[in-house]
Every structure is written in structure tokens, then in C-alpha cells.
């Protein structure tokens, strides 16, 4: 038997690697640096205090994100954001076909990331968080469901609506011409005589 049988795990070891991504997510939620810092600090304080109750072997990342989100929801900004009620009813089944004409079919250059960022920022909170957890944090649907305390079916329907809404926002920005000083994407297709 090896001597490495008991592996000590400190809160620091587990939590430090998540710092940047938690901060990034916090900033996306709050849309304010100062609030994001407060949120992350409070999250780490709560997590540190509750570390004794954390079940080792379970999903630490999901646990941290859950603390962060719940802390956000009880903040003034979070409460304000959650007062926005989605117009479309949420469904547990996914029945939304993908739209054929999508603006992202156009090549979006590196300089237009700002446009995507603005579009993400305009998404309602419940779409923004689910989209970022899936595409940025690469969480599974189950992880997202646990983090947001919603059923997996709701994760799927929210994701689909989030992507469709994002697509629509990007389309509007592209059709609107110059967005934040960026030029509209040009059609570079050449027609043969």
C-alpha cells in the first residue's frame, strides 16, 4: 500500500482554481465590477464557513456556483433582475426548431466579439446564466440543473430560448449597421460573370 492513502484537501486547494471563473460569472450576473467583487468575496466567505458541511466527492464547482448564485439572488441587483418575468412560458420539453437564417452564418471577426458580448449582456438573467454555464463553463445539463435548482427539462428549454434570443439580438445588431463603432459585416461573396 502506498503512503499516499490519505490525501488532505484544503478549501484553498479546491476553491482557488475556481476564482477567475467565479469572478467572471459574478461580473456577468451583476454587470458591475464592485458588485462582482462583493459577490465573490461573500461567496468565498460563505463557502469557507460551510466547508465542513460540504460532501467530499460531490461536485465542488457546482456547490460554489450555487452559493454564488443564491447570494446574488438575495442581493438588491439580483432581486431586481429576478423581478423581470419571462413573457414566454417555460416548458420542460424542448420543441423549438432551429431557425434556418442565422446571422452567425456570417463570419464574425475577432473585433466583433464585443458585439457578442453586448448581446449576451442584453439577455435576461435566466437566459444569460444558463447560456454561460453551458457554453462557457461547459457544465452538463445535470450540473446546471443542480446549480440553478431547476429541472433538466427547464435547462434545455431555457438554453434553446437563450440561443435563439441571442441569435436574434446579434441579427439586429448586424442589421443595424455600425454597432459600438464596429462596421457591419460585409458580404464578400463574389459572383462569377
Amino acid at each position: 500500500m502506498s503512503a499516499a492513502e490519505f490525501k488532505p484537501v484544503s478549501f484553498e486547494e479546491l476553491a482557488v482554481p475556481l476564482f477567475d471563473q467565479l469572478y467572471n460569472f459574478a461580473h456577468w450576473l451583476t454587470r458591475d465590477r464592485s458588485e462582482a467583487e462583493d459577490l465573490v468575496q461573500e461567496t468565498y466567505t460563505k463557502a469557507l464557513r460551510g466547508f465542513a458541511s460540504f460532501q467530499l466527492g460531490t461536485n465542488f464547482r457546482g456547490w460554489m456556483y450555487r452559493i454564488l448564485r443564491n447570494t446574488f439572488l438575495t442581493s438588491r441587483t439580483g432581486l431586481k433582475a429576478t423581478m423581470t418575468v419571462p413573457l414566454e412560458p417555460e416548458q420542460d420539453s424542448l420543441e423549438l426548431p432551429i431557425e434556418r437564417e442565422t446571422p452567425e452564418a456570417m463570419l464574425i471577426e475577432r473585433s466583433n466579439w464585443q458585439l457578442i458580448q453586448n448581446a449576451i449582456e442584453e439577455l435576461p438573467l435566466h437566459y444569460r446564466e444558463v447560456l454561460l454555464l453551458c457554453d462557457l463553463e461547459e457544465m452538463s445539463y445535470r450540473e446546471i440543473a443542480e446549480t440553478l435548482s431547476i429541472p433538466v427539462g427547464t435547462v434545455m428549454s431555457r438554453l434553446s430560448r437563450a440561443r435563439n434570443t441571442l441569435t436574434e439580438l446579434v441579427r439586429r445588431k448586424l442589421e443595424g449597421g455600425t454597432v459600438n463603432g464596429m462596421r457591419k459585416m460585409e458580404d464578400t461573396t463574389r459572383h462569377l460573370p
Binding site: F11, V40, L94, E104
Partner: protein
């Protein structure tokens, strides 16, 4: 249209969440269907853009150092490695002797966690300029406001003929569990009063009585009411007795 069924599942496919059998079927379909292949391409592009654009905010170095310093050299937990058999044997030998002690300590740790969170919660409420989301002295207005927002119902304390009056309420979270947070008023003093159902906090409820968190404020648990809903309040020792009677 034949492809509609596929298109509704395109996101799930690209997120790698389809069962493996369906994943193979989808792979085969996309290879032979130009329309679905084109949709898949733009969806993948969108995912990539979100992934890139999403990495937008970087914490300040000072802030990072401050948080790192706070969490440095803090609690260490031990995970059993592959020689868990030895650990299990050792645990069995000492299990009987340690059982009572461990139970007490575990409860004590849990208590500390709960008290810490509750104290933070209540102090934050007291410090807040807008502590309530539903502002009403009428419990028939406040109670229905919580419907659909928390996973249980509760009865508000009867405050008739008492020196307390209701100010309003808000939804709050304790250990990822939503609960009701009420603010009562006695003269010019506010009293946060929160309610959570069961969860890990039920066991600590009895132990909460008479436990002081600071020299100025006392955190106490009310009696269990209404199918396992626990009430928690924070106030000065003398006034709590009055409040608890209601």
C-alpha cells in the same frame, strides 16, 4: 418535415447530451443532410463565440490577493485514498468509542455554520436600507406574496395586542434553501424573523436556544410549527422572550 425532429434536438446533440445511441443516429443524419449540417455548423460557431466572448472579466490582482489571503491555511478535509480498507478497519475499532463524541461535534459544527449564516443574514437585513420586498403591515398581504416563491406555506405570528407590528417580508436563502424573511417592528427597532423548512437546520434548532452570537444580539430559534417549519429570529435577550410567546 423530416428534419424537424432532428432540428429540435440539434442543441442537445451539440452539447453532447444525447444518449449514445441517438448520438450515432444524429451523426449519420448530419453527414447526409446538408440543411442540418449547415445548422449544426452555425450553432457550433455560436457556441464558440459565446465561449470566447464569455471570458471577458478578469479580477483585479489586489482583489485576488485579498481573497487568497483570507482563505489561506484554512480548514483541511481528508479524503480516503485507495487504502480505504485500512481506514475502515481503524474506523471500526474506534467507532464505538467515538460515536457519541463525533455526534456531538458534528452537531456543533453544523450549529456553527447555521448560526454564522443566520447571523450574516439578519445583520445584513438590519443594515439594509430596503429590507423588504413586500411592504405591508397586513399579514393577509404579506403571506400570499410568498406563494410560489418558497416551497412551503407558513402562518405568520399573531401580533395582535402585542408591541410588535409587521413591516413586510422578502425571500431569502439559507444553505441554498429558499425561505421567508419577515421584518417585525417594535418601536423604532427592527427584528428580522426568518423561516426555513427542515433541511440540515432542523437538528440544530433546539440547540440554538440560549446561544449567544455576540454581546449585543442573541440568535434564537422559535418553536417548531406547521409541519417542520422552523422560525429564527434575532433580537436582544429581553425582547426575544416576548416575541417567542407569540
Amino acid at each position: 418535415m423530416v428534419c424537424e425532429r432532428w432540428k429540435t434536438q440539434l442543441d442537445i446533440y451539440l452539447d453532447g447530451e444525447l444518449p449514445s445511441e441517438q448520438m450515432h443516429d444524429f451523426d449519420a443524419h448530419v453527414r447526409n443532410c446538408a440543411s442540418c449540417a449547415a445548422d449544426a455548423l452555425v450553432r457550433v460557431q455560436l457556441k464558440r463565440y459565446v465561449q470566447t466572448a464569455g471570458k471577458r472579466f478578469v479580477p483585479r490582482a489586489e482583489f485576488r490577493q485579498e481573497v487568497y489571503r483570507r482563505i489561506a491555511a484554512k480548514p483541511t478535509r481528508r479524503i480516503l485514498g485507495w487504502n480505504w480498507v485500512l481506514a475502515a478497519a481503524l474506523a471500526l475499532i474506534f467507532a464505538t468509542g467515538l460515536a457519541v463524541t463525533y455526534r456531538g461535534r458534528s452537531r456543533s459544527d453544523q450549529d456553527r455554520t447555521v448560526y454564522g449564516e443566520l447571523t450574516d443574514l439578519h445583520v445584513a437585513t438590519l443594515a439594509s436600507l430596503s429590507p423588504v420586498d413586500v411592504l405591508s403591515t397586513d399579514k393577509h398581504t404579506v403571506k400570499p406574496w410568498f406563494e410560489g416563491k418558497i416551497p412551503f406555506t407558513f402562518d405568520l405570528p399573531e401580533l395582535h395586542d402585542s408591541e410588535f407590528s409587521l413591516m413586510g417580508g422578502r425571500v431569502t436563502y439559507l444553505g441554498q434553501t429558499p425561505g421567508a424573511h419577515l421584518i417585525l417592528r417594535c418601536g423604532n427597532t427592527k427584528f428580522p424573523y426568518s423561516s426555513f423548512r427542515n433541511g440540515p437546520y432542523r437538528a440544530t434548532e433546539r440547540n440554538a436556544l440560549n446561544r449567544s452570537r455576540s454581546s449585543r444580539l442573541t440568535l434564537k430559534a422559535g418553536a417548531m410549527r406547521d409541519f417542520g417549519i422552523a422560525w429564527w429570529g434575532m433580537c436582544r435577550q429581553t425582547t426575544w422572550t416576548i416575541l417567542l410567546d407569540y
